[in-house]
Amino acid sequence: MKVIGFNLCKFGNIIGALLLVPIIVAVVYKEFDIIPHFLIASSATFILCNVGIHFLHTKKEMDLKHALCFAALTWIFCMLLAAIPFWSTGSTGSYLDANFDAMSGFTTTGLSLVRDIDHLPYSINFYRHFLQFVGGVGIIVFSLTILARSEMSSVLAFKGEARELGIRPSIVRTSRIILGIAITFMVLGAVLFTAVGISEGAGVGTSIFDGVNYSMAAYSTGGFAPHSQNMLFYHSTLYEVVALVIFLIGSFNFTFHYAVLGGKRREIFKNIEIRTMFITLTLSTLVISGLLLFSNVYSSSAMLFRKAFFQAASAHTTTGFGTVYPAQIPSLWGSAVMFIMSLIMVLGACANSTGGGIKAIRVGVIAKSFFREIKKALMPKTAWVTEKFHHIETTPLTDTIARGAMLIAVSYIFLFVVGTTVTVLHGYNTSDSMYETASAVGNVGLSSGITSPAMPALLKITYIFLMWAGRLEIMAVLALMGFAILGLRRGIKK
């Protein structure tokens, strides 16, 4: 326990430093009344963490179980600290709501309980998007880049956060590459958004501020927006196209980015994740378009495709940007479309990306093993049926890999069922509940209108848990629970 606490406190210092970043925005926008809130939150974090480091100091290295628990607890610890400015500035109605938004930010979900987004201080609005960017790149990867921790502990913490595919032998170097790629795309996105904003007729100041924030939210597949209308603020197809490009890039695997940027162009066509996402996104767009076509909602095919493709891509990449009002979705799009959207939200984006959900690689592996079983059944008993998949390198599909993918998929479905049941028990209808739960567990951020400051506290806690467990791909959460039960048993025996 001491080794986890010590590492958490060391890590907490990074949050203390991150809490100082929005002060720059506060100075630019002359929000001098907001600066004390960030200073207090940051100082309180430094005091708590330094005292913790002093009393829990240990030279012991983390082993696998420690690393998994550390990964799981880091998000909770960061949430509790990062929520302070939301709460103290009155941006949220309560500390619970502040925690909801902090968890939504760090897990790049995008569901929000902020009271009045359009009148938020600029620094707080920036802070929301900044949390998503930090969360998207991975708090742990971020810390590895900055702290350059010892190799052994770093490998394990990295594994606990579900980013176990190393690009380079050194984890610290890998983290730096991840951060480098993320910052490059974020800057590119900010420039594009700003240029489009200005060309569409928004003021230069608004365009720059929105450009930076939309870019951070898009690359991290987060879904927060600086305006309550989300993507509808600009009413611009071009703005939507830029968002689409940036969040699609963000939803791709970091190793895939590295391979393609390194000259392996064929990976675009061969990679199992890209192929799976292409198939599922195309299929879901076609089904949603078909359903909307029959319901006669949109009068032209261009209009229908624009809405259906953007919403489907936003759901599948677990981004959560919307071009349809949340309260409009149940009545305008109907239950069948909401079910398809819920399904693709749970399927999610690529592994080792900023996205959430089951992940395309697992969906691809499960589909391949399904077809392998069918082939086996059709072949003579003596025949050997082999299957392989390509992800950076070609790998034979073994039962162990298929079982691992299935285990995570089943865990997600279990969380989805639990979340939906809890929501239904609070009096919401089934399709809305499925949609909202899929959004929380897949770290998406699209809403059917359930998420609001007025929703019951138990539901808020449930969604915080779902966002956390979904982001950690459940295994780290199970490890933490096992660790806690083991500790309790030992305590009882003593």
Binding site: L120, S299, A327
Partner: protein
């Protein structure tokens, strides 16, 4: 004649009342099919203006729901204050056609304004920092620096103490 006026005038007012009464943003979104392609009156605070040559989008917020108003650029230029953290935006009232799925704007929900009026001018809000909060933040920063340096000194002192090798 006078009895006719006495009878018809209240009736006429009663019939016109629903037209004149502004719809809330929430009602328009939640019952968008019911208002589709109908004339509505919508009012609220301006929170954003995007001018596109001869026309403009004026985003108007009413009770937590913002809707884009498609109007003439010259109407948008009447707006002097846009709402944000430091400002309460101009209050406007719009009479126009509500579109659940606008055929002109890629299927977005919007209102095409026929009549755009600035009802009340916006104002700047006093956002000066609280002295108590400033003092508290200075105290916290000082405490954080003190704790960091004190603990560092204690740690260094501890490291100086060499353990007795024959224990």
């Amino acid at each position: 004649m006078s009895w006719k006026v006495c009878f018809l005038a209240p009736l006429l007012l009663l019939l016109m009342a629903p037209l004149a009464e502004a719809e809330s943003g929430k009602a328009l979104i939640e019952n968008s099919a019911g208002f589709n392609d109908k004339a509505v009156t919508f009012g609220g605070e301006v929170i954003g203006v995007v001018v596109k040559s001869d026309n403009a989008w004026v985003n108007v917020l009413d009770n937590g729901v913002a809707i884009g108003i498609w109007c003439r650029a010259e109407d948008a230029r009447k707006v002097s204050v846009i709402g944000d953290y430091r400002h309460v935006g101009d209050t406007v009232e719009v009479v126009g056609t509500f579109h659940m799925v606008c055929p002109e704007h890629g299927g977005d929900l919007d209102i095409h304004a026929d009549n755009f009026t600035v009802v009340a001018a916006g104002r700047e809000l006093d956002r000066s920092p609280s002295l108590l909060l400033v003092a508290l933040s200075v105290a916290f920063v000082a405490a954080a620096i003190f704790v960091a340096f004190s603990l560092r000194r204690i740690r260094k002192e501890k490291e100086k103490i060499v353990p007795w090798p024959f224990q």
